[in-house]
Symmetry: C2
Subunit: 84 residues, 2 copies
DNA sequence: CAGCCTATGTATAAATA
DNA sequence: TTATTTATACATAGGCT
């Protein structure tokens, strides 16, 4: 989307990679949420970045264990950050 | 997208709900894969439908446990189907 | 660096086959 | 009912602030 076509490879420039990560993470979570609501299914989305753990789910019950059973990203030595 | 605007509520018509599920599931997985590659992060996407379990991940190592630690959807009494 | 803007690329709702 | 075809809505890359 946007002005240029997307190449399916790691974005080398750190700044653009961070910007793209932020934009696409938001879009992906929105879509995951929509799929859950529109189609009445349970969806879990987990994204591990260098900063911490991010996740999304539309129906907590069956998926709540995900919060507890994962391992911490090795690069993270701080308390993990949990975002909606 | 498409011809009509989207209402963020459960699609009541079973046929449209199934059609929408199929289309959006594909789109969501594609985007999840792209985010993982472009931004060099680990992504896991799990969708529980009535049919079975679907999942996606860009980096198997840390997330492989997801395959084993989840519980089966109660509505599924057949062997689960695993898709890429 | 976090937002805002907007031209363009994509995803997809409906319609149709 | 599933596959293909548009017309549109939506997401977002690159620029700019």
């Amino acid at each position: 989307m946007g002005r240029g076509k997307v190449q399916l490879k790691r974005i080398e420039d750190k700044t653009s990679r961070q910007v793209t990560f932020s934009k696409r993470k938001g879009g992906l979570m929105k879509k995951a949420r929509e799929l859950g609501v529109l189609c009445d299914v349970e969806v879990a989305l987990m994204i591990f970045s260098d900063q911490g753990r991010l996740y999304e789910f539309s129906s907590a019950e069956r998926l709540a264990f995900l919060e507890l059973s994962h391992t911490l990203p090795p690069s993270s030595n701080k308390k993990q950050k949990v975002l909606s």
